[in-house]
Symmetry: C2
Subunit: 329 residues, 2 copies
């Protein structure tokens, strides 16, 4: 059987994670990487894969079964996903929750008009966490769900610290509050404030002579990002940052706490948790599995925008239905 | 919108769990309960629901959107599911893993011939645990998965003890070995023997004058059921059994421990866990959600046998696609 030809558009951390996942999947092959930079400046890990300028992508129609978009949700994906869905089956990891309905509508229109199928918001949140929130909500309609993130590096919060004058580099860890996780696991269903669910740990490399007290105050008082949380700021050297904070670990928990029975007398708790050494590689692995699903659905003639809620799980696996039933059911 | 009419065939613990879940779902209604006993001897919880003899079920074709089969996997379901799939869309909880391929084929043939759709093996294992094994396997193809059950009451093991001469009643708890769970959570990927994964706790009410030492020896040496495990036997009074062991709690964990990266240098751990006060009510809640999905697929004209791997998650929820995307993605 011929392999599914996957293209990658944009080549950052996430795309490298997708590339690594493709290398672990015998039914997928990396067909090409597209970049808006000078292709000669981009070297990919997979031997023999062409790196092409983004402007050449139109010519590759018919040679790629599914295109993965590696761009960001703020400015890249709102434009790129609908544009690429006119030419290819696509998968993105759009994660700006508030704009999902609008993004879905734009991608759906483009994909339907051109006869392609597009999955938006693949990854783990949105993605596998969404799947667990949704299924748990359907199984236990009377209950509450809680999403805790971490302990892990938040790229957005790290960037926000880096923009403060006097900061050379920074890493921000989002950390769930253990007592709150424990209370939910024990079947309590409290209403939490943001502060009660997560703390924020900041490791900051300051420029020489910078006003450390001012940097700390600026971080802690930053609205939305840090003000609503208990935040700690630790100044470290550049070497310490490289040595102890080079990785991009992440993870978290989705917990549904529900009741069943005619008297609502029984507590039922569903928990889904991730502990990830590498956030981009795990996200890339999820995206690769959904790229497989989208390529197959495209082949079946399905069109329009989809989310993880719309994909029957068997499509994610290279194994046959018989094999899945015999060994994993 | 009219409600989905659910029928229940057989009325034991599991069916009562399904009934309770239907009562929690505003889009489902219990249309009828069918029993092989004298219908007058069966009183259901839901007001106004007819209890009919199983022999009357043929006449109810066209009045039930989906029929849930509450019977057991040993003798009931291998006959009942194919027979009922000739007349109705059906859902069962067939859980004899070794016979799933054969059962699937029989149900598939019956459902296709009659134009119905049938879901086999709904519940949590098989069911939600299977779904997590399968999705995790697709996302992290290089890794191992572990399924731990408990702490919870195993009906089959309790029954096996009850069949020993001199035993009046018994409850068996399956208990995961904490050190083994911890090692898997820590990212180790050991090969376990059955003994290393679970212990078995037996609470036994003996008949007056019974030979307790012989009962204990008979339990501990029982092949397959107890011999491969570290088993403890505690003799208690009938009152203690009623007071401390009346419930049917259960639960467990599915853990996938995988690696990603070109050097397989990153560990990634996915864990799905359940902590259930009532096993039959939770299983019934899962079945009710899949009954909703099957009724919808039936309405769309889908036919044949399905498993949880074949059902797009959105079908499980009464919420609209827009609502799911806006609030749970």
């Amino acid at each position: 059987m011929s392999k599914i030809r996957v293209g990658i558009y944009g080549y950052g951390n996430l795309s490298r994670g997708v590339e690594s996942a493709i290398a672990q999947s015998s039914d997928l092959e990396l067909a090409a990487v597209f970049t808006r930079r000078d292709p000669a400046s981009v070297s990919v890990r997979t031997a023999g894969v062409p790196v092409l300028h983004a402007s050449e992508i139109e010519k590759c129609q018919g040679q790629i079964d599914v295109l993965v978009l590696g761009g960001g949700s703020a400015t890249d994906l709102p434009e790129q996903t609908p544009a690429m869905a006119k030419m290819f089956n696509v998968v993105d990891s759009f994660d700006t929750h508030a704009h999902i309905p609008e993004h879905f509508a734009n991608v759906d229109a483009a994909a339907k008009a051109s006869g392609h199928v597009a999955l938006i918001s693949a990854g783990w949140d949105p993605g596998l966490f969404s799947l667990n929130r949704m299924i748990s909500d359907a199984v236990l309609p009377e209950g509450k769900h809680y999403t805790f993130w971490g302990r892990g590096v938040s790229q957005g919060h790290s960037d926000a610290i880096r923009r403060i004058p006097g900061v050379k580099d920074a890493r921000q860890y989002t950390v769930p509050v253990p007592a709150s996780v424990d209370s939910v696991r024990a079947g309590e269903t409290p209403e939490f404030t943001a502060r009660q669910m997560h703390t924020r740990e900041c490791y900051v490399v300051a420029e020489e002579g910078a006003d450390l007290a001012l940097i700390e105050k600026t971080i802690k008082e930053m609205p939305n990002y840090f003000e609503p949380y208990d935040t700690t700021v630790t100044f470290i050297t550049e070497e310490e940052l490289k040595q102890n904070h080079a990785g991009l670990p992440h993870g978290g928990f989705v917990i549904r706490s529900g009741v069943t029975g005619f008297e609502k007398e029984h507590k039922q708790i569903i928990e889904y948790s991730l502990k990830l050494d590498s956030n981009p590689e795990f996200t890339g692995s999820v995206i690769a599995a959904y790229a497989r699903a989208i390529a197959r659905l495209g082949k079946e003639g399905v069109t329009g925008a989809k989310t993880v809620f719309d994909i029957a799980p068997a499509y994610l696996s290279p194994k046959s239905a018989e094999e899945l039933r015999a060994h994993l059911l």
